[in-house]
């Protein structure tokens, strides 16, 4: 189709279209606020949101409904239709082909007189004065028409169109499409939290009416019970409460249309008991349990007429011990097997099976005597007097160590000889054995520093130190914890290595080594 072709159809097209598509389309348009078609993007088929500024080449398709699911829904034609035309027309001139500003050929879905998702992208219009629309802008109708007579006339099925508003340059918007109902602000419908108990897993979904998506939050100033948290996207309050006591918070539900608040108050219950509290003193429901005879395996708890014909749970202390269920004799007297209990004083209590509060219905204390078969104990006093020699002595057997002649920068090693420590005191405290020595001097007044002598302690040959006695290093020859060396003593020795300094004057040098035994 081209300009010339459009021009030739003016007379015929005007007459037919006013009777056929033109009037029917206008009437339909007035009867319903819904658009005659919805604009979808040609990428994933989403509705183009109202107010979107589209570009001249933005790819848009028309569908009978607002979403990709409608793309394959056909616009139903009439049997006289043989073709399709897309148009940009002055508003009010949609059914007048000769008045269309621009047009392009469409196509019927093969084998039908229907149209599937016509592509109304403005840059796809090939005929007419689309360039003027793009350059100057203006208010137009964008639509498509069923045609007949080789495109000369509009078929009975008529036209479908929407209003568009083109800005100079080609950007455009379209009349709002009432496909999307306006959003409704949320109203929180949850009235209270379910029972909250310390240690018990909790989960509850806060609910609200209103348009999705709804997000959730806790208003500043309040807080969920400790241990619980709120999922902002789902409204799920979940977690395991950790602290008993009152709570108060305000939940806020928000969507695109507004928000709604609701206050929640309540109490986190204490953790459920797992055993009755040990009754004592003036605790209620004390009865009189007769102490069992020696060897008796049961006791009778006279729980009274109030508990007759019942099956109760028996507990016994020190630590609560579940003795299992017991059934009365028809008169409220419960026989409890105490064979698992050790001899001694016990508290016995009866509670109703399954009673989460473990309310004590009858209790008393009793003493179980030891009986044959019980584990028994008895004591035998043992005495002994420990004696000691009370010896404390030190003896270095050698009185002199002679290194002989030692050349400068040479060393000579000699044994110190046996050193005996005896610690057999009445009160053992342990000890330290140390050595100290003076610088070496000769008659001429020359001196070799004490560092010329190195001491390497060791156990005396043939002696193995007893546990607690340790051989040391250097000047610390040995030490001991509070153990007795007995009278034979602990025997030590040491390798003494003398090194003649390079700068030492010749001569006979002497020094004194002193061993010291110190009590800890």
């Amino acid at each position: 189709m081209n300009l010339k072709k459009i021009g030739t159809i003016v007379a015929a097209a005007t007459a037919v279209s006013l009777l056929a598509g033109g009037l029917s389309a206008t009437a339909a348009n007035a009867a319903t606020p819904a658009p005659q078609f919805y604009l979808l993007d040609n990428n994933v088929g989403n509705p183009v949101p109202d107010g979107t500024v589209l570009q001249w080449d933005s790819q848009v398709i028309a569908a009978p409904g607002p979403g990709a699911d409608y793309i394959t829904t056909l616009f139903k034609g009439t049997t006289d239709a043989t073709g399709v035309a897309y148009f940009i027309a002055p508003q009010g001139k949609e059914s007048t082909m000769s008045a269309w500003t621009a047009s392009s050929d469409g196509a019927l879905t093969p084998g039908t007189v229907d149209i599937m998702a016509p592509n109304l992208t403005l840059s796809g219009f090939l005929f007419g004065n689309w360039a003027q629309v793009k350059a100057n802008g203006g208010d137009f109708s964008l639509g498509f028409a069923w045609t007949r007579n080789n495109g000369l006339n509009i078929a009975d099925a008529g036209v479908k169109y929407i209003g568009i508003h083109v800005k100079p340059g080609g950007d455009w918007t379209f009349d709002p499409q009432s496909s999307t109902p306006s959003a409704t602000a949320p109203t929180i419908t949850t009235t209270a939290l379910d029972a909250v108990k310390v240690g018990a897993a909790f989960s509850q979904t806060l609910a609200a009416d209103g348009t999705a998506p709804i997000t959730w939050s806790i208003k500043d100033g309040g807080s969920l019970p400790a241990g619980l948290s709120l999922d902002g996207s789902t409204g799920v309050v979940s977690g395991t409460p950790t602290t008993a006591g009152a709570y108060s918070f305000t939940a806020v539900a928000t969507n695109s249309a507004g928000s709604n608040e609701k206050a929640f108050t309540g109490t986190v219950d204490a953790a459920a008991p797992t055993a009755p509290t040990k009754p004592s003193g003036s605790s209620a429901n004390k009865v009189d349990v007769v102490d069992p005879a020696k060897g008796a395996k049961t006791i009778t708890v006279p729980a009274g007429a109030a508990n007759k014909s019942k099956t109760l749970q028996a507990w016994a202390w020190s630590d609560p011990t579940n003795l299992g269920q017991v059934t009365d004799d028809g008169n409220g007297n419960f026989s409890v097997d105490i064979s698992s209990l050790p001899a001694g004083e016990h508290t016995i209590a009866l509670v109703a099976p399954g009673d989460a509060t473990y309310t004590v219905l009858a209790w008393d204390t009793f003493t179980k005597q030891s009986a044959a078969g019980d584990t028994t104990t008895d004591n035998v006093d043992l005495t002994a007097a420990v004696t000691a020699s009370d010896l404390w002595s030190l003896n270095a057997e050698a009185t002199k160590v002679d290194f002989g002649s030692v050349a400068r920068d040479k060393s000579v090693t000699k044994p110190l000889g046996k050193v005996t420590v005896v610690d057999d005191r009445n009160v053992l405290k342990g000890w330290d054995l140390t050595a100290a020595w003076s610088p070496f001097k000769n008659g001429a007044g020359d001196e070799i520093p004490a560092t010329a002598l190195a001491v390497a302690p060791k156990a005396f040959s043939g002696y193995t130190p007893i546990t607690g006695v340790t051989v040391g290093t250097g000047s610390k020859i040995a030490s001991s914890t509070a153990v007795s060396t007995l009278t034979t003593g602990a025997l030590f020795d040491a390798d003494l290595t003398f090194t003649a300094p390079k700068d030492a004057q010749t001569g006979d040098y002497t020094s004194t080594l002193t061993v010291t035994l110190t009590s800890k």
């Binding site: 189709m1 081209n2 994933v44 793309i71 050929d105 196509a107 599937m116 840059s123």
Partner: protein
Amino acid sequence: MKLKKLAAMGAACGIAIAGLGVASMASAEPVSNSYALVGSDTLQDSVNAITNGTSLTGSLVRVTSNNKTLGNFDAFGATAIQTKQGGPFFGRPAGSGAGVTALRASITGALYTGNVGVPARQITGQVDIARSSSGPGSNANANGLLAYVPFARDAVGFAYKGGDSSWATLSAAQLKSIYECNTTSVGGVTVKPRLPQSGSGTRNFFLGAIGNPALGSCVSDATGTTPENDASVLGTNDLIPFSAASWIAQANGATGVNTTLNSGVSFGSPVGGEPAFTGTAPNLVPNTDFYKDATFGRDTYLVVEYARIVSGDAKYDAGLANLVNPSVSNSLTSFGSLPTSVGAVKKKFGFLAPSTTTIQRAFATL
């Protein structure tokens, strides 16, 4: 292309386009009023459909550019074509290689021969896009002046006429031996290997996939002009490389000509255990696992001058850049899933989405 030129053409081209409506879509020969495409026979039918408009998916799908139609020229037909108003007649580029050569000549101004029946002509500006059923191969270059833009995923097998049941699946090694004329009989039936003309992307891809055989003397048309993807050229017990997409498109009636209906012709798979398609005509469906095969599956391309699609370059042409930008809805290289999308049409033609949308550059010099 300058705006002034567009405006001038817009006024003059209406009559020519009106003629398009009554001509066969598969033999679009009027001049283009915007961009011109030439080259691969494998891609020509699908590109004809999306540039000329098709209702194959139920909805009219047509790729245009700034209110202008495109001109897509077949690989075979009259020996010469005129692609632009007032432009020269020049030898019709027959195949992927010839299409790229024509595009290069259109850029450089070098004389283009096309085919022996038409004198060499200068065709500057006469070709904008080359259809190529194969990638740039050894011409790939990181700084290349041409851009190979992935168009769709094809796979190559072979068509044969006659033969026996064992011909339905022939390994790459068997096919190489056949084209080297070392194997002359398969299943007790003498096999005659055939080849499309040398510019055929399908031919070049197939020969590479089977191991680049040294063509034996039994390949009678190794230097001939046999069109690609045309089962009507097959004589009894002939075997020829064939695009799976082209076979599916023809069998499904997406193309104007259906050579798969020729008596005794079948499509063979070189991928063990994977037929090229499932279903029966006219509802053949590409077998994804066959197309995914690294050896016999291939991405096909539209080739353009790189400078024309790079924003900021003096040659930058937004219209052309949008046409080959896969992220632009309704571009030639897009592959959407809606029935109104270009991708839906390509699937009707036996193509799947390309393995990548990454452009390959090629030809350091033109």
